[in-house]
Amino acid sequence: MTAETHVVKSPLMGTFYRTPSPDEKPFVEQGQRVNASDVVCIIESMKVFTELRAGRPGVVKRILVENEELVMKNQDLMEIEID
């Protein structure tokens, strides 16, 4: 098994959210199958919310950041094992 990995990166500095709002379920869990257009997380920077999509279809292999953690521009957020 040498599947190719796609890494979702943060386009800007901000707060990483795994859920659409504080009391909702996470967009994705580790091991979950996603389509390229599925929203996998949100980055909030200066009150602007940017939804990040998987980008490639596959399975969420690892989520590298904790919910509500501060992330930097270009920081790796999630690994997706491409189909």
Binding site: M13, G14, S21, S45, M46, K47, L70
Partner: protein, 444 residues
Amino acid sequence: MFRKILIANRGEIALRVIRACRDLGVRAVAVYSDADQGSLHVRLADEAVPIGPALSRKSYLNMDALLEASRKSRADAVHPGYGFLAENPEFARACEDAGIAFIGPSPACMALAGNKAKARKHLIKKGVPVIPGSEGPVATVAHALDAAENVGYPVILKASGGGGGKGMRIARDAKSLSEVFPVAAGEAKAAFDLPELYLEKYIEKSRHIEVQVLSDHFGNAVHLGERECSIQKRHQKLMEEAPSPFVDAALREKMGDTALAVVRFLGYTNAGTVEFLVAPDGAFYFMEMNARIQVEHPVTEMTTGIDLVCRQIRIASGEALLLSQEKIRPHGWALECRINAEDPDDGFMPSPGTVEELVLPGGAGIRVDTHLYPGYTVPPFYDSLICKVIAWGKDRPSAISRMRRALFEVRTKGIKNTVSFHAKILDHPDFIQGRLHTRFLEEL
């Protein structure tokens, strides 16, 4: 007068209130989140109290932490600034229950002013002109379609819970209204935790013009003239001026009288702003009452010479407003540019980071309200407003020319900002002619 005021805010407005406190000889208590330890408002206050982690929800929006900080510092009043909890009646009530004066209107009045659909309904009954629209909220698409049939297209959906462009959508026909309704409701729910929408007729080429009012606890109220705030990006103001190039003396008097009537009908006290939509034919309609000090208040301070934040504090402390309408004689012209930490060359993408180099403008007629200093790191957790440049001149052309000079002098390194974008607006022929409307920037 109060002995000590806690400022439940951050950034430039926290500094603004600290300055008013110092002018009045009142001690100022700053609060700060973990992200703001090195902020200027912390350094320039008399005392500073930490209130929690960086996320607003856990600090600047955390009522318990703020009340605890007020008690601990023995503040006898709280100034909420703008944004955060400034228009939260629950917070105002909690302050009062704790025996701490809230510098703003009463909680009940704030609740009425804050629910836009309710305020609108209340004022229609009193004969205040409002834009034709739904009577109260529209709960379903069918209800919205009915209301739109009545007033005629185009129409605009707005959120009952608040402003800032969230939950706002224009629809030009029934099909697009059905499409945008769920989107607007979803946005309103996310932004204000209230999906409730109302609907108004959409007036093309309209202006956003607002009237500043001051009202004390003894029934004295005055207005301080208007501000034109039509330069907006996604319903967020970017540039404001006083007076409005559109408003003449007769219209000013009519709008001022209407604003004071709104103050009376709502039982409003302290500083507030009555927002109007003004049609190209000069007809004006009440939009909403902002129950707080506003970002753009300095342009009114520059033309009237009245310190609005000091007035807020004095009114809240129980002083009578010794100002008569005849004595308020605005003169000259003032402009404000809201400089945001955003990249105008990249879709206004937020640009937090460290300000490595900073030169701020000065000279005749220029005022700068900012919390920036060289080496300061703009955190990504809060609003992108980093600096307000205000220019005063004897007339509009001289205010514009001073603003151009001021923007030229701004030098920053390390973060992107909107200075170049503001400079472009100042050179636009329609702007120079004062031909403004709220979609001015969209149509550039």
